[in-house]
Point group: C2
Chain length 214, copies 2
């Protein structure tokens, strides 16, 4: 069914945009709360207060804390997929990862009002919760596979564009290597934020060359 | 001062061994509690109950939850250093990391009664807490540097034994690569526990060869 542009559908659009803005406001508040206090320490009513909405309204959007963490995983996936599809090749990718390390090492949460969730704190919190809640683990793993598939597809396209024969097994290994480098760097940023940048850059230069099939 | 083997010092030894056993029992209980409920959700009294000791006695060993998490970090470091000094070379290291991935993917906490803490759940919990508590972050980072230094020393010795000229900068990069591989694999185990083992093995074979300076 195609909707025509009647005043009625315009009102619907406005309502949808408002609902989306409310959802985003709640998710931003939940994210701040989970990072600063841990997933199990904060309550739904505290998150509602931080989002400046009533608890009753809160429940219309998210029925419990699990629903909030699942929505945060969803938002992270959307962000990851956007990053992957816009992924630069060669030295730009090295610079991009190096910039991520520096950002993570400073412990910054980038741009909480948009989809960009650059926080390793949230990442650690989601991982910890996946150990406790099988539903969270299941959704996380399903989304993670989608992110890996997006990287795999990007590398396949990269090979095709260079006229290189596509070898799926090798692309699977290169996908895994990229994920190990990025997630390992995120962990290093928390545990060793003072790494010499020259060391990180030189290591990434050779490792990323292998990811890109050089 | 050298102690002679008097009944007095024997009694002291027994008391010290008892205290050590109590500490271990409490730390095991705290670890289980933090993993299953999150660092901020459980209370000191719940941990005391899980360890089957009185709350009063508990406070004689650990004054608060921060002291518990710091002791868990300490125990992890002792375990890491023992693993590093006993680290095998070449294919054995590949097999070792592959076995770790499988263990982590099953979500197992190995051997809670000894020093071996093979749980990525605790790792995630400690990382999350480091984002919240600067004291935890500081201790974690100090210990992390010691673990990296132990890997660096191991690689230097490995090169010397092979008669290869020691290049500190390259060893620093190889140390970083090993850490990225191990921590990245731990993250993969939580988020993607169904990786094809053949893919992991082949990737590790070539990456570990570079770590070992091949």
């Amino acid at each position: 069914m195609t909707q025509t542009d009647t005043p009625f559908s315009a009102a619907e659009d406005t309502a949808a945009a408002h609902a989306e803005a409310q959802r985003r406001k709640i998710l931003d508040a939940a994210q701040r709360c989970f990072i600063s206090r841990g997933f199990h320490a904060g309550s739904i009513s505290e998150i509602a207060a931080a989002a400046e909405i009533s608890q009753g309204l809160m429940y219309r959007y998210f029925e419990n804390k699990r629903a909030l963490i699942l929505a945060l995983i969803e938002r992270q996936l959307a962000h990851d997929q956007a990053s992957i599809s816009g992924m630069p090749a060669s030295t730009d990718l090295v610079d991009g990862l190096l910039a991520c390390y520096q950002l993570w090492a400073r412990g910054e949460v980038l741009d909480t009002h948009a989809n960009a969730i650059a926080s390793v704190a949230l990442y650690a919190e989601i991982n910890a919760e996946a150990h406790r809640d099988p539903v969270v683990a299941e959704v996380l793993r399903r989304h993670d596979k989608q992110a890996s598939a997006a990287i795999h597809a990007w590398l396949r396209e990269h090979d095709r564009a260079r006229g290189v024969p596509v070898q799926e097994d090798a692309i699977e290994r290169r996908t895994l290597l990229l994920r190990l480098l990025a997630e390992g760097l995120a962990m290093r940023a928390v545990r060793d934020p003072d790494l010499r940048l020259e060391t990180v850059r030189e290591l990434l230069s050779s490792a990323i060359a292998r990811v890109l099939g050089a």
